[in-house]
Structures are given as structure tokens and as C-alpha cells.
Symmetry: C2
Amino acid sequence: MALSPYHQLEEEFHRLHVFRGAASLLRWDQAVMMPRGSIDVRGEQLAALETECHAILCAPKVSRLIERALANSSGLEDWQLANLKEMRRQRDHAIATPASLVARLAQESAVAEAACIEARRTQDFAVLRPHLEQVVGLVRDKAALLGQHLGLAPYDALLDEFSPGLTTGEIDALFKALGRRLPGLIRDAIELQGAEPPLPLLPAGARLSVSKQKTLAVEIMRAMGFSFERGRLDAADQPLTEGVPGDLRVTSRFDALHPLRGLYDALHETGHALYDLGLPKEWATQPVGRNRGLVLEESQSLLLSTLIGHSRPFVAYLQPLLEKVLGVSGPEWSADNLYRHLTRVQRSLSRVDADELTRPVHITLRFELEKELLTGALKVADLPEAWNAGIQARLGVAPANDVEGCLQDMHWPAGDFGFFPAYGVGALISMQLWEKLRTDRDDVDGEIAAGRFDGLVGWLRENVHGLGASLAVPELIQQATGKPLSAAPALRYLDAKYLEQR
Amino acid sequence: MALSPYHQLEEEFHRLHVFRGAASLLRWDQAVMMPRGSIDVRGEQLAALETECHAILCAPKVSRLIERALANSSGLEDWQLANLKEMRRQRDHAIATPASLVARLAQESAVAEAACIEARRTQDFAVLRPHLEQVVGLVRDKAALLGQHLGLAPYDALLDEFSPGLTTGEIDALFKALGRRLPGLIRDAIELQGAEPPLPLLPAGARLSVSKQKTLAVEIMRAMGFSFERGRLDAADQPLTEGVPGDLRVTSRFDALHPLRGLYDALHETGHALYDLGLPKEWATQPVGRNRGLVLEESQSLLLSTLIGHSRPFVAYLQPLLEKVLGVSGPEWSADNLYRHLTRVQRSLSRVDADELTRPVHITLRFELEKELLTGALKVADLPEAWNAGIQARLGVAPANDVEGCLQDMHWPAGDFGFFPAYGVGALISMQLWEKLRTDRDDVDGEIAAGRFDGLVGWLRENVHGLGASLAVPELIQQATGKPLSAAPALRYLDAKYLEQR
């Protein structure tokens, strides 16, 4: 008997799933194992797999099957309907931009990324400028075509890839609500924390065994439910989560001079990995069985690494492990000093090193600037000045050069516009989920302090992970928390955490 | 402008090449890095990629393009014609066996392999018997269909996959010519070597650092031309060469109790790797740019690991390296004692551990038995008895149980028939190439003793590696050595090596 259109689509998307899984393993291998000289071969392999995935989504056969399945969907179960909707969504995104534009953008952004590295080396934005102009022009074309196809404003169309279902207006409102409160909160928190910094964890230049750091990370990841029977943790130049549920590959940056960085990178990635592990197994090969986009991924990594990882109960759990596994002791490794380290608020220039309170400021600046770059209201040539004025106005700090300013991120040269907001919205989502989780499980602090994570991970699995991509982001948050997505839980959380008397 | 049929085929086979490269990396990862629990996920990925490759070769579109390109081939260059011929060959092999038979064989052989492991554990052939009967029945069907499609006798059709262009009759004649001389040669060699065994390299139970062994292997592989900028050597349960030229992944079994095993496994794989590295780069993604089958692969690994690796000049090069890198010394590590180890002839029961003189005997026994299993002249139930009688008659040794007998190899349970002869013919080819190489480069012994391998590898590149799959095996040997493939060079080589006065 011939398969129905819907079931034929399931087969096509199963193929897509396998190719994406193979590509992910190849990326992991590139970061961890690949000989340096083989980058050209790997580039070809990844490009060919990418082309194959794109070809599946753009095949006229797949479009015909989608139309026929939609026209005759009465026999489908709810999850199959959701799956069909996701198939259409992926198809719509793939088909809107011609392959030639995709290829040119890939090419120009590779050049712009190299130029950005050179511009950093020479502290000279002019090296990047012409290439970034090219990229911005191509992204503008892409946004216009995507918007036309999806029936969205151009920038909304870009957002939709990373934060499915959210618009510029909604994100704007969220960031504004947070932004009204942040300056005062940052000022008060810094005042409360006082001028005296926490004791340094290590004397200047001292080193702490990377192998012990990794042992520690493995022990904590295991406690959180990461399965080393079906996953690995390895050292690499950047933290990543690759692979597929059933074979997850986490990497982290371990550094003998920064004893906690490798652990917290690993926790961040473990947040991603647990999300992937909790995705609905029966839909594993299908679009509806995938995660709900970067914005939700980010909410899960922040929830684990920051909301939990930078909390007092977690420090109570961590502190004896540090003594046991790393063999450290003394006042600098006390729970109090560790907590002061992890919650220190500072007005700084770097997004990556920013704390919980100032990070949204860095994100909002990028959100504002990239919208203007795309409309043309801001010229690439004027970016450094606009950046410096923006960060000065928001945080009162001034970059000494563009390396400390608009050259610090690789997202724009790489062609990733509409991406930064997902970091900020992801953080808000993590706080809204956290508030509900704490209401539903009133001893969660006790569980964390005792190193028992199965209950809270179970809550996330039930309310987030297990839903896959079956709901758009706003619906998922409404269902999980009983309230629309808003900045209010974040403000309550940040107020409570940073204005408590210490 | 639309692409010509031939150039459309090049694109299809380029896709095939990428999928095969990705699958090879996944296999390497499975052997070296993959978490043990992820085998089910990996199995699905490899099966899906295999299905994809099969689908490309069996697509009606590809067959139509092949017919059109063949009908209109006047504008093609020689290598393109050879490529087209190889495309047709791959298509013919793929299309002859229905997917349902391929799937059943894969399934039954997976069961039979597991049963073989259990039969070894319990020393009970009966555990394997029913499953091996299933596999033999399916292979018989496959051979019949393949033979019909290729216009070959059934067993010849199986041979064609591993030893392209060679028939049962030719292999039979080669093995008979060798077999007539071997018994006398084995007897004389053993007599000449005397009853006194070489000194053991290590005292019983002593261990030699695996990490030093690996350092040694890396140093020698580098000298032979393996590029660690574009390749790796890792420890694994079995020696493998995976990846693609440009990113070659070699594994070896290092064992602290067996100080030379890891090195010689690595040299064997380096023979494969150098072959892959020397394949014609301009055809890298095309069928004609692949190796000329298992039989040629095996000739290259034996040439490096045995003909060169077990020679006096190589031992002269190796001995000071052992002292330097492994930190060993004394009479047991003298060049003479090492050479006695490497050339010791013994009538034994194991193919894998057999020496240069007795290995062909083990291969020939399997060649005879598998032909009879396929015709039905030998019943699976009678295999143990036939095996034991065969090895007793040929080598005068008797297995104490079937683990030492017909359960020692996994090839038949795995469904690999027509495979064993390639080991034997590969050995003959290695000796015929070696004779010609020594004539063309008369100081090759001096080069080897000095650790200079570029000249001899260059010869192999010019005469074997660089030809890819452009010629069938007999033509390739004729062109490289000026003579038809025969056992005569092997007999000359073995006589000279094992009957010299020591």
C-alpha cells in the first residue's frame, strides 16, 4: 500500500534528521578531534550535507506533499498536525531565500569573519567595514525575501528563525520593561556589594589541574542527569553541544588559570543537553520533536548555569565538592566568598563576561543597533561611534578601542542578525519558568543544596523539554507558567537576589 | 546551460562520495570516541547513510544518465571514460540485489555474528549453526542474482566486489601454484630456523608503556609519509583506516604486554593510508579516484608491514629507534633477535597470528570451504569436521575445539563470502610489486635501513596509488610490473627469504 502524503513527509524529514545528525557529529569532531589541516575537507563535507538538507526542504515533491497533507489532514493526530505545521515552517524558511543568495552570504560572511579577526588584531575597524557592508546588504535582501514569504516585517522574519512566534514589538516591550528598572537596580546592587572585591580564588599566576576540573564537571553533570553512557564531555576552544539525543557531545573551555570557567561553561552546555535529552522520544526524527529554537535553548542553559548554578543552595552543594575533587580549601573557597564571586555586579565593556544584571544592557544595545543597521538608519561606517555612545549612555563606561567595542562579537560579520535578542528573551524566559518551578516545588532549594536535581529536571521535562516544537514560544510559556511572557518575573527575581541584605 | 549526462553523473557521485566520507568518520568515531550506549543511534545513522548511497546508485535517473553518457561518449577524456565504466560497475553491483534481500542479509548476519560470539564462549558450534545456515542461504541467493546481472558465475560475482576482474579459475591457479611449493618450503624453513626459539622480548608479565609505543609508531609513520596535519593515530580495539584522503584516521591495538603489536598493526594501516593519500587528487570525489578494491588495499598494507616491515634493512632502521623511544636494550632487543621474531615460521591454528609462509595455507582452506558451502557440496553442519580435517592435512595441526577451528573468523557469519581470497591474492600482488620495485630502485634496502621511504612510496604512487580505479586488477599488475599476475615472484621471494643461511 502506498504511504499517505503525511507519512511520505515523515520519511523525507527522517532523512533530514539523519543528515543533520551526521553534520553535527562532524562539527563536534572538527572542534575536538580533527587534524588542523583537514579543515578544507570538512568544509566541503559540511557544505554538501547542508546543500542536501536544503534540497530536501526545497524539493517540489515535498511542497506538493505538504499541500496534499494539509488539504487532507482529518485523520491526523494532534502531534502529527503540529508536526506538519513545523514541516511547513521549515520549508517556508528554506524556500524563501534563493540558493544563490544563501551561497553569497556564506561566502561574504566567511570573508567578513576573517576580516573581523584581522581588525581585532590591528585594532582597526576600517579593515572590517567594507566586508560588513557587504554582509549587511545581503542580510537586508534575505530579510526582505523572507518577510515577503512569511508575511512578516523584514526584521521579524529574521527573529522568527531564532525566537519562533515573537515579533520586534513584543521583544521591544519586554526589553523596555526590564530596561526601565535596570539602571537603578545596577546602581543599588553595586552600592550594596561595596567596594571590597571578593578574595581571589587563586594567587596571581597559580594553576589548578585541568584534569581535576574536568572530573568535577563530570561529577556534577552526572548528578544533573547527563548520561555518560550516551554522551561525552571534552575540552575544546569553545563550549558546544553537538550530536543527537542518544549521543550528546558537550565541550567546554578548561583553563588552569580560571578554575571555575570550565565548570560553568559545562553547566551551560548541560542545560542545552538536558533539553535535548528531554525532547519527545517518539517524535525524535521529526520536526515537532526538535527544540523550540535558540531562545528556548538559551533559557534552559541559563536556568541551569546561572539561576541554579549561581544560587546560594548550589554553592552549598558545590563548596564541599570543590574541596574534595579540586583539593582546595581556605577562606577564598568558602561558600560566602564563592557566592560573592558568582554574583558580583560590575559595569564592564564585555558582553561575554557580563553578569546577570548588566548582560541585558549589552543585549539591548545590539538589538537597537542591528535594527538600525538593517533599515539603513545607521551606516556601518558610523557603527563604532554609535556603539561607544550607546554603551557610555547605558553603563557609563567607554571602550578604549573598537576591540573593546563593536568588534567584540562575531555575530554580525557571520551574518547572524535577529540572533542577539534571543539571548535576552531567553534570560527572561528562564526567570519566568524558574518562578513557576519554585512555586510548584517548594523545597527546590533544599534539593539543590543536597545535589538532587531529578525533581527539577523532571519539572522542566514535563513543562518544556517534552513539548518539543509543538507550540510557538508565547504559547509554550503561557502553558508552562499560566501567564503570558513578561519581564515581571525577571524583575522580581533580580530585585530579590541583588537587593537582599548581605 | 544544462549539464551533460556525464557531468550530471559526476554530481551524483560527488554526493555519494560525501555520504561515504561522513559514514566513514562515523565508523571511526564509533571505534574511538563514541559512548558505548549510543550504538543504536549510530546504527540508525549508518543504515540511513547506506540506504541513501544505495538509493543514489539504484535511481532510475542515474541509470538513464549512464546509458546516455555511454551512448554519447565521444567527447570524454580517457579518465572520464574510465570513470563512467566505474560508475556503471558500482550501479550494476548495487542494482542486482533487491533492497529486501540486502536488508534481510544485514539482519541475519547481525544475529549470526552475535551467535558466533556466544558459540565461542560456550565452545559450541551448534549455537551458530542455524544462523550460519540462514546466512549461507541468503548469500547463495545474492550470488545467483549478482551473477545473473553481471554475467558471471555466482562465486565469481562475489569475488568481483573484493578483487575486481579476477575469477575463481585464476585465483585457483594462483593458489595451486603457491600450494605446490609451500609444504616443502615450510618444512625446510622450520628445520633451518632450528628448535631454539628467539629470546622473548619481555620477561613474562612485564609491561611496556603504551604511550611510548604510540610515540614510536607516530615517528615511523611520519617517516613513511603519513601526515599528522591531515590524519590521526588513535588506540582502538581493532586496527582500522577510516576517513577520506585529506583527513585519514588510523587506529591500532596497543598492548603493554605485546610491545610490537601496536606498531605492526599501525604499519599495516599506514599501508592502506598511504594508498588512500596517493589516490589521484583531481578525481578525488569520483569512482575512478577510489582504490582498486580490497585486494589492492591488502597488497599495500602487506607490502609496508610485512615485506618492508619484516625485512633485515627495516630491522636495522627500527632497532636504534626501539632503544631510543622505548628505552629498551640487551640481547633480546638486538637486530638479530628481532629479525628471528619477525620471521619465525610455525605451524599454528590461527590465521591472524600466522606467519608469511603459513598464512596462505589458512587462506586456501577458507577459499576451498566457502566455495563448497555456497554450492551446497558442504553442509554447514559438516563444516567443523571438514575444517579440522583440512587444517590437519595441510599443516599437521589439530584444533582442540571449534574456537581454535571454524569459529575463529567472523567473515562468514557476517555474510562476507569471496572476501578471504583477497587476502591471499593481495599477498601475491605485494610480492610481485616488491620484486619490480627492487629492480627499479636498486638501493631500496639502503634507503629503508636509513629510514628514507619517500623513494619507494613515490614508486608505489606512480605505479599503483595514482591510478585509482582506472584499471582492473590484472591490467594494473601487468602495467606496473610488465608481467601478468602470477605466483612466481612470491615463490622467488619466499625461497630467498626463508632458505637463506642464517
